[in-house]
Each structure stands twice: as C-alpha cells, then as structure tokens.
C-alpha cells in the first residue's frame, strides 16, 4: 500500500505536541522542509534531539516549537555559534541533555537495535558524566575495566531525508549517511522525505543501497530540494552563503522573526520556498555529475 502523502498531512498526522523528534542527517540531508512545516503548523513543547542541532533546530527554537534539546554539539557548522539555541540555554529558556557525539549516536544505536543501553569505553573526561545523571558506569561482566553506559534513544518521530525512495518507503541514500538508518530504526514513527520517488523495480536494482526499508516507514513525501540550505549528495550543493547569512540574521530577534515570517509562514510549502530562492541561488547550488562504476549483481 502506498504511503505517499503530502508533507503537511504527514506532519499533522505523525507529529504531536510534546513529542521527542529526531531530524536526522549529520550536516548532509538535513530535512529542513519538514522542520519548516512543523513551524508552520505551530507544534509545541517538542523535545528536539540531534547530534548537531544545526540551523534547523535554531529556527524551530526561534519559532517556539521546543521545550528541550538533546545534543552533542551546538554550532553553526563551519561558521561559529548557534546563536538562538545558545542564548536559550544560557538564559534557562530551554532544558537540555548533553552527550558526546559517540554517546548520542550510541543512544540511537541502542534504540535502533532494541537494547536498553549501549556500552562505551571510558574517556577519563568525567565532568559530563557528573553533569548528566543518565550517563552511568557499568561493570564489565567479563572482568575488564568499567564501561560507560548511555540509555537507548527511541524518538516518537524521526524525519529522514533520502535521495530516492519508492512509495512504500524503501529508500536509497548515499554520501554522508550519518545516523539516518539508526534514527529510522530507533523511532516509533518515521516520516521519510525524498528527492525522487522511483518504482520499486528501481530500488531492487541496487539493494545494497537500501539503508532504510519501507517496513519501518510511516509516511513518504516527495520533496525535491528539501534540505536547503543543507544538501543532497549529487543533487545540489550546500548553501554555505546561507549558513553565513543566518549568523547575521540570528543576531536579532526581530530579524529572525521577519525571516521566519517571510520564508516559512508566508510560503505555503517547500516548493514555494525553493521557487522564492530564485534562479541565481539554484544555479549556484547546481552540481556536475560524477558517476560511480556500476556493480554487477548477476542474473540468477
């Protein structure tokens, strides 16, 4: 049965106020279109989990969607500070729970594989362990040194963007694959957005590339260019200029609010947002093809 629906329908049906949300993608394939739709629909009190909150969560915090942040690195990648999240944390307006990258990703790995926690080796940097009571010591049952345990993360909803998927949510992705698969398997519901919707036969030509199977996916949405200002490998480049601009915009509440009004609230969907960016930006982000050598699966 096809799971193909509009993004507004997917967000309305599968994201509830108060949910824990994981918008996947380590600098690549960040699902901005879904983030913007969550803002448009005025979702509230969300716990936003992501290794790197990035601009997507800065914007969602600015729009008042969030109650809490779960993270391992808050920065504007390659630019500097993530101003809105940072000031919300400094002023006590946002609760938070913090891990290292490995801790955060291990939490998803536990959640994705049905385990209650994941062990990690110690690092001797114990201040985070003291600051976050959910990070525990664990005795090695085989007699080795103590280990660190982090609890499984099972978000209510994960949003994952991919290059191509069929209408059932069987998805191909490549390039930086971050924590996409782990987030999809860890979450109770998965909203998948895709650059292209292809036939199942096309997915079946390259089954090794199917990192996310349809069986864990709740909804599939066809959203080309969904990641801007992030990128989709082979489809369009990262808009570094926007990351730099956001550093300016986010310095004032007023400018942030007018940006949200103009680019999120006053655009009806992501297609309109992309169109509004204009031809110059589209051309700047265009990328020349670089094909891989095809693999031969064999006819059996």
């Amino acid at each position: 049965m096809s799971k193909l629906i509009s993004l507004s329908e997917a967000i309305a049906s599968f994201v509830q106020d108060g949910d824990t949300l994981y918008a996947a993608g380590f600098t690549h394939l960040i699902p901005f279109a879904a983030g913007h739709e969550i803002i448009r629909q005025g979702k509230k009190n969300l716990t936003l989990a992501r290794a790197t909150p990035d601009l997507i969560y800065d914007q969602m915090v600015a729009a008042g969607c969030a109650r809490k942040m779960v993270f391992s690195y808050i920065g504007n990648p390659g630019v500097g500070s993530l101003r809105i999240v940072r000031s919300a944390l400094e002023n006590g307006r946002l609760e938070w729970e913090e891990y290292s990258h490995f801790g955060m990703i291990s939490r998803l790995q536990a959640g994705a594989t049905g385990l209650p926690f994941m062990p990690m080796k110690q690092t001797a940097a114990t201040d985070l362990e003291k600051a976050n009571p959910r990070i525990k010591r664990l005795t090695d049952p085989y007699g080795g040194p103590d280990l660190i345990a982090v609890p499984a993360l099972n978000p209510d909803v994960a949003v994952v963007h991919v290059q191509r998927a069929d209408q059932n949510g069987n998805a191909h992705l490549w390039g930086i694959i971050g924590e996409q698969k782990e987030a999809a398997f860890a979450a109770k519901k998965v909203i998948l957005t895709a650059e292209e919707i292809v036939d199942e036969t096309s997915i079946r030509t390259d089954p090794n590339r199917t990192l996310i199977p349809g069986l864990v996916v709740s909804a599939v949405c066809h959203i080309p260019k969904a990641c801007h200002p992030s990128y989709a490998q082979g489809y369009y480049d990262r808009d570094n200029q926007f990351y730099l601009q956001w550093d300016q915009i986010s310095q004032s509440l007023e400018n942030t609010q007018s940006w949200l009004d103009e680019w999120v609230f006053d655009t009806k969907d992501h297609a309109e947002y992309w169109h509004k960016l204009g031809r110059q930006v589209h051309n700047r982000l265009r990328v020349k093809p670089r094909q891989s050598t095809p693999v031969n699966y064999g006819e059996y």
Binding site: T27, Y73, I74, I105
Partner: protein, 256 residues
C-alpha cells in the same frame, strides 16, 4: 606581503603539518587542521589517511571543505560509513593515530574545555558548542595535537569544565585511567610550541622566529616552564606557503 612573510595562522598550520608522519591515520577537523593535513599530504606525508567524523575515510577534497560534512569530502573518498561506525570501528577500536583538537580553554595539563565557561554547568556564563567528537578523540587517538592562538584566557591554570582529557592532574592520573591514546603531544600556538614534560605539564619547547619567552609567559595562565632545550622553529618555506595559498585555500579563508 613579501613572499616569506606569513600570518599567525599560516605559521601554526605549517608547524602542525610538520608534526604529522607519513602513513598516519588522522581524525581531521575542518578549517586549520584540514589545511595542516592536506599540506602534510602534499609535502612529507603522501600516504596520510584523512578521516572525518562525518564518516569519511581517505578523503581527497578537491576544494576547500567549508564544513565537517562538505560534499567534496565524499566524492573520491576511499570509504564512507555511519557515525556509529566511525566512532566505534575506527576510533574506539584503535585505528586512529592522530586527532586534532580545539577548545575554548586548554589548561596546564592539556585538558580541554569546549562545554561551558563558568563554575556552574547548569547556569553557564558562556555556553560553548560541547564535545562533539573530541571527548573520545582525546582519549583514544594515539597522539593529539592542538592548534590555538596563544592567549591568556585560552590557557588557564585549570579548565572550568573537563570536556576532553589531557593528562588530568598529571601524567600519573592519565596512566591510571588506562586510556589507549597517548594524550596531547604538542600545542602549536602563534608564539611557539608547548609539549608535555615527564609530569604531563605543558612546557615551552620551541619559539617561532622573532617571538620571545616573555611573550609566551605573559600569555599563559600558569607559571610557564621553559625547556632547557628550547628550540626555534624553522620558518615556513616558500613551497609550504605556495601550497597553502595557491592550492589549498586560494581565498585565504583560514590563513588570515
């Protein structure tokens, strides 16, 4: 700028690059560490393998990467894996020789703070980005290097928050923790190089040309010891500067 005049950033990048050995597997960050690694690869360490925490192994970036997840790191790389894989199979397993670290504070024993400024974690005076990959890199890479401008506020006697372990309260404590990695081996600044002594304390072991011991002392937050065998670093060569300026960072984004 005459050909052999160079900026503080260029000086740090060139000196950091010389610390890398041919065949090293390096956990690279964007910005200056990325330039140091690419420079080493084009000069004395052609077999350097660059790993990025985004899950890229053997990257050969065709343009200057502007973020840790720049798509240029992927095209032409040897392998790409998930974040869980890069931190577990590669780093925790022990496949990484060198890690480059940064942080707002680096203390007397090479401990790093990238989390909060102020005594109270729950009410931070300044909220910094947090660990990212650095907590584990500092513990498990065989050798760690730090590049940072030499300023008193960056080099306090003791970090406000221990994000990543240097030698803790001294080399003995790190050894007792039985971490696989050897810890910070050198801190490259715009004044010179500090290295840990037998106790794990960072001492000044080299000065860049025209820099003075007094400058280094004034800009360090603890009574800085000077090595008996204080050296002067070799100036950046024409070749090194040409590679940085013409090939690696033609717009000078990280060289100023």
């Amino acid at each position: 700028m005459s050909p052999l005049a160079y900026s503080s950033s260029e000086l740090m990048i060139v000196n950091a690059s010389r610390l890398l050995r041919d065949g090293d597997v390096v956990f690279v960050g964007v910005g200056q560490p990325n330039l140091a690694c690419n420079l080493a690869k084009r000069t004395h360490a052609p077999n350097l393998v660059m790993i990025y925490e985004a899950g890229v192994i053997g990257a050969e970036p065709a343009r200057l990467p502007l973020s840790i997840g720049d798509p240029t790191l992927i095209s032409g790389a040897l392998a790409v894996c998930s974040m869980y894989d890069i931190f577990s199979f590669y780093l925790q397993r022990g496949c990484v020789d060198v890690g480059f670290m940064g942080g707002a504070q680096i203390d007397r024993f090479g401990n790093i703070n990238a989390t909060v400024i102020g005594a109270d974690y729950s009410k931070p005076k300044v909220r910094l980005p947090g660990s990212g990959g650095s907590q584990e890199i500092a513990a498990w890479a065989n050798r760690c290097y730090i590049m940072t401008p030499h300023q008193k506020r960056r080099f306090p006697e003791k970090v406000d928050f221990l994000t990543s372990a240097g030698y803790l309260s001294g080399r003995a404590e790190r050894e007792a923790a039985a971490l696989r990695g050897g810890g910070v081996q050198a801190v490259v600044t715009d004044l010179g190089i500090m290295e840990p002594d037998h106790s794990g304390e960072l001492v000044l072991t080299a000065l860049h040309p025209q820099k003075t011991v007094e400058e280094a002392r004034e800009n360090t937050g603890w009574p800085l010891k000077i090595s008996d065998d204080l050296k002067e670093t070799t100036p950046a060569s024409e070749q090194e500067l040409a590679i940085l300026r013409l090939e690696l960072d033609p717009d000078g984004l990280y060289l100023k």
